[in-house]
Symmetry: C2
Subunit: 407 residues, 2 copies
């Protein structure tokens, strides 16, 4: 029953009805890959990025050299930041693109702690991505706070209630991931932000697994700070720079722990005393990579053109179809457990299954041209990218998963 | 007398005798530029970087996607770090390439402070690059230290004696630039390091303006920590990632302030508790940019092939010839003052002149295809890159400078 005709027909029909189907042609598709199901780790290469980088090399670095800085490069961190801002509901001037996600999160966390003097607890998810927890502990240690780790009561991931139960008048900062990197579980960003504010704390959101696929209204929700990466659903390239957001109401006095000449109001003043910018440039430190920003910008442009609402609609259809096929496999006797929430409103854009030998299965899938993502010890993540994953690709990849598991 | 035949003949002869002359052909030369004299701000584009980035886009990101991380990308920060290590006298395992210069310096400074508990002064040059001073003040504030700024007694830049006069048993950390970003003055790294150690402190060297052009023996000198950028004489591209060095004797216990999953001994363990690497990977934080590292690597490869000793020899010839031509201009009645030390052993690879209207002169030079670098309020920097600057190019650019100043 694996690869059941009816499911494939549904996939074909879903592709035919998909208003974003043509976006796939804007990306390089790997000849040896049957199904790329890891868009939540590294998004595909936009064709335009290849062309644009070649142009920037030849005409800008190669042709203009240092003059490039006064001919547009210096504005890139803010321009691309504002473009990402448009995807996450942030008005201009509050986002910049620069540094790695870790460094952006560290800046946001230190800045957040300074906003709530006199409080002594930093709340973090016990199941968050390692870097988030390492940084939370480190910032807490440096700033004299105690870390409180929230354990999820539901195996699929944290709920707003889990977080709420730990908030009190000790709460300084709450660091949370919008989408759980393992299970794909989605928190209600507005609800949790309001809970943290009601307790008198400030919130830092990690948007790595939601930016580009989950509509996010940072300004409307009154979020304090956020950061996220651009190499997943924004297709910015391996290790592409991250973005960091700080609300306009905080920026004029924001205490940024890594000041450099790029944090200044006037970049070329090079003054003896730093006069920090009062907009998001305050969050910059050193010279940002131009090649990196050019690549991020092309990926972001595609996401903006597709539109976050259409991306979310397709993402829900992809994850729902994925769960239907996985259920079909389970009904056929294949041993797997879907750990991602079945309610589309409670999940991001990846679906995770628990398997006995997830590592071995991953290896065998890759041998057969199906690229998923393995997470210790027993999870297989299937990252579905609305701009590049087709329903037929997903279906065919899951058929191979069924065959591998059946053996 | 400007553009005196004899000087141009000398330039032609110096080019003819230059063992590195052929390297110039390995770089993209801008058609509208008569003389590029800003290699100390942004180095030229290696032709091979264009080819290599196109390959990596097409075959690695485009072709291998997430598999690239286990097929070589993950080793790049260490590999390129070790290659730069070879240029600065550091044995493998002590350098990594990642993050901006500012972030690398911040890591080095925080780590340095942790090495000297109980001491309360951070010494920094009063004339250093703004970021260095901003970061020194910030780290001092965060760690409860007092900043002591060293004023140079000589207008060309700090001397070892200036630094030595301020060292005592309060000295925790000394942050210094190997080459002064404005005047080009060079400190004796081994001598100053020994002085700091004799006082019981640790030293952090900023190698931005010396890496690739001044032989540096970090290990032999017993340097504690160092950082430097790759977009000047290493031709890594605009905003390319920096490198950071920590001595092997410090690394196993080094206190790195920005821990992330890339700091771990086992990158993919993603353990609940961070077990940091005991080599330079400990200095990494988040996912490094692959495109950035690929570009840096090509620039570094050219510097390694040329050899640091040959680069230094040519650099000294370039700066000496530059000063000779400037003296010739001054003798002809042009109002300029060379502020760079006249002793080749006391300077790096740029020559700085003080002018009445340095900004206006810079604009007029650029109009005529000569690209220097302006520094507030009255300095014109002439950055001479041994791999790409020819003596004739330098000569012809200075002739235009003479003409501009004569009007």
């Amino acid at each position: 029953m694996i690869g059941h005709d009816e499911l494939r027909e549904r996939a074909v029909a879903l592709d035919a009805a998909d208003p974003l189907a043509a976006y796939r042609e804007q990306f390089v598709l790997e000849p040896d890959v049957l199904a790329y199901l890891d868009g939540n780790s590294l998004g595909r290469l936009p064709r335009r990025t290849q062309e644009r980088l070649a142009e920037v090399l030849r005409h800008e670095w190669g042709g203009r050299l240092i003059r490039g800085w006064s001919e547009g490069w210096a504005e890139l961190p803010v321009q691309v930041g504002d473009e990402i801002g448009a995807l996450v509901g942030a008005a201009p001037g509050q986002c910049v693109v620069a540094d790695s996600t870790s460094v952006c999160l560290a800046k946001a966390l230190h800045a957040a702690v300074s906003l709530v003097p006199g409080r002594d607890r930093l709340v973090v998810s016990a199941v968050d991505f390692p870097t988030d927890r390492y940084l939370a502990r480190r910032v807490a240690r440096d700033r004299g706070l105690e870390v409180v780790e929230v354990q999820p009561t539901d195996s699929s991931g944290l709920t707003a209630q889990d977080v709420g139960a730990l908030l009190d008048d000790h709460t300084a900062v709450v660091l949370l991931s919008h989408v759980d990197y393992r299970t794909g579980s989605l928190l209600d960003l507005a609800e949790v932000t309001a809970m943290v504010h009601a307790a008198g704390g400030v919130v830092v959101w990690d948007l790595c697994h939601s930016v580009g696929v989950v509509p996010t209204e940072l300004d409307a929700a009154g979020v304090d700070l956020a950061a996220g990466c651009t190499y997943k659903y924004l297709n910015g390239g391996p290790g592409a720079q991250a973005f960091v957001y700080a609300a306009a109401r905080h920026l004029p006095v924001l205490d940024q722990p890594l000041p450099g000449w790029w944090s200044a109001e006037d970049l070329f003043a090079m003054a003896d005393e730093l006069r920090p910018a009062v907009d998001a440039r305050r969050l910059l430190s050193g010279t940002p990579s131009v090649l990196g920003l050019v690549a991020v910008r092309e990926g972001v442009a595609l996401a903006m053109k597709a539109g976050i609402d259409r991306a979310r609609t397709k993402s829900e259809l992809l994850t729902s179809f994925c769960i239907d096929v996985l259920d079909h496999l389970a009904d056929s006797g294949v041993a797997l457990e879907v750990v991602t929430p079945r309610d589309p409103d409670r999940r991001g854009s990846h679906v995770t299954v628990r398997l006995a030998d997830a590592r071995g299965v991953t290896d065998r899938l890759i041998e057969r041209g199906v690229v998923p993502d393995f997470r210790e010890p027993d999870l297989l993540r299937l990252g579905l990218a609305p701009l590049t994953t087709s329903f037929v690709e997903l279906h065919d990849g899951l058929v191979v998963l069924g065959e591998v598991l059946a053996h």
